[in-house]
Amino acid sequence: MGRRIGADLLFGLTVLTLIGATALLAPVLAPYDPRAFSGQPLERPSRAHLLGTNDVGQDILSELVYGARVSLIVALGAATGTVVLGALIGGFAGYIGGWLDGLLMRLVDGMMSLPRLPLFILIAAFIGAGVPQTVAVISLLFWPTTARIVRAQVQSLRQRGYIRMARQFGGGHLYVLTRHILPQMAPLLISGVVNAAGWAVAMEAGLAFLGLGDPTAKSWGLMMRFALNLPGLLLTDRWLWWLLPPGLCVTLLVLALTFVGIGLERHFHPRLVRRGR
């Protein structure tokens, strides 16, 4: 190792750290309780309220700071769920092979051609979209992408000489899996987590924007929805401190995750990239 960290990776990690720190330190950083009616409705930015207040007099900056928590919890939960499911199913299919592999891969094909957002909306409309439900549904809908990548990798690893050797020498399945296959999969799984986190953030914000979010967890998507619900918002300059900040935050977070994903890929597979140049 000891390779230089690329500019994209550095940017992504910095932004992620900043947003993570904001989420952790929210009670310290936020000037008010985001639920408290700390001012008059629709105040303009002032010393007391740096980003003004919303239509019911809650401090927008505090909402923004606490919103980081919702986005990150959903991102972490859904990314973990997606990758665990995908790695288990994909790894199982690739390692076992045979008809079970065929069956699982048909399932993956089928699920990947399903239009996921409409399905998501349908499910969310029926079961409600609290944070746990959102995490569960994203995991259930997005595991096939990871499963396919993991399966391909496990399949190619299984054929390698040293793995067959380990089996020949009497290494059990569990031993081979944990000792030889899993360490090889680590880069792939980390990229998987990062990519899934990116989708999850975008999905959560999108669902909240459509009004299917958790009404008790005020995320950045939900803030945008409330802002846009105010008639004539775009005709005044109120969008500058109410709509723009949450929009920028979502964009920054998704962008940071994408950059980390690309940077990690470059870090782990430098040859892949050089060949393309």
């Binding site: 399905l119 459509l210 964009t251």
Partner: protein
Amino acid sequence: MRARRRVLYLVTLWVVVTVNFFLPRLMPGDPLAALLDPQSSDYVFDPEVRAALAAYYGLDRPLLEQYGRYLWGIITGDLGRSIRLNLPVAQLIAGRLPWTLLLTGTALLLSSAVALAMGAESAWRRGSWTDRLLATGSLIVSNAPVYFVGTALIILFGAKLRWLPLAGGRTPFARYDSLLAAVLDIGRHLILPALTLTLSTLGAKFLLVRNSMVSVLGEDFMLVARAKGLPEGRLKWGHALRNALLPFVAHLAAHAGMTVTGALFIETLFNYPGMGRLIFESVGARDYPVIQGVFLVVSAVVLTANLLADLLNARLDPRVREA
């Protein structure tokens, strides 16, 4: 390969239809409980009335018979009735579908054309400032939420410059004297939503074209073509881009799905009278038959786009056809 694809398409379509049938029935309570929410004002408490309602909707029949009736309904174009508007769902969707198709079709064509031209140019001058700027810019725009990009465009062109209408698919209550006036009005309303959708779907396509173009440029036949002394334009567009086109077409299906997904958000934001707006309105009113109907139709559209892209790819690439 092609036959298997078609089978997969049919199976997926059947899965969508079946999920749509069973999902409400798997939820706690029966579909009527969802239909008439305990919190809603028209919740029916009287058990006799509930039984009558269940009989009216055929919910007292065996599950298999219900499923059969549901399938037959879909075949004959009966998707149930909207609770909110008391209109047939099929009629509601028929009024909205053309708008969504217009929006997604325009955006898909526009972004494909721009991505091909930009991607080819960018790969041709890889490593230059233009290339880097385009790659970074498209990454940023395609990562921003669609509705955020849309809002930025509305603020700039609609609210600040006042060049284009803020929302809607056409001028309300307008009566057109001629066909041209109608086309112009609808076109004016289409510009901003279509531009938003184009921008937000451009990035992925651009990167795909650029990367496949870069790998084509390294092929031996490009060297031969150059050695033959072909002019630069022929090399770039005739030889390189033509071969870089294949991965692009192969991914067209996934991109069509992404475009439809984006359209659902954009229609909500722009008050555009398509299916996305319909689903948004129905979610607010808990109008389940409409949400289910929209899900069915959108899924069918996306799956058909997948199939068409597969067939197109097979036409273009003999390797896929024979495999």
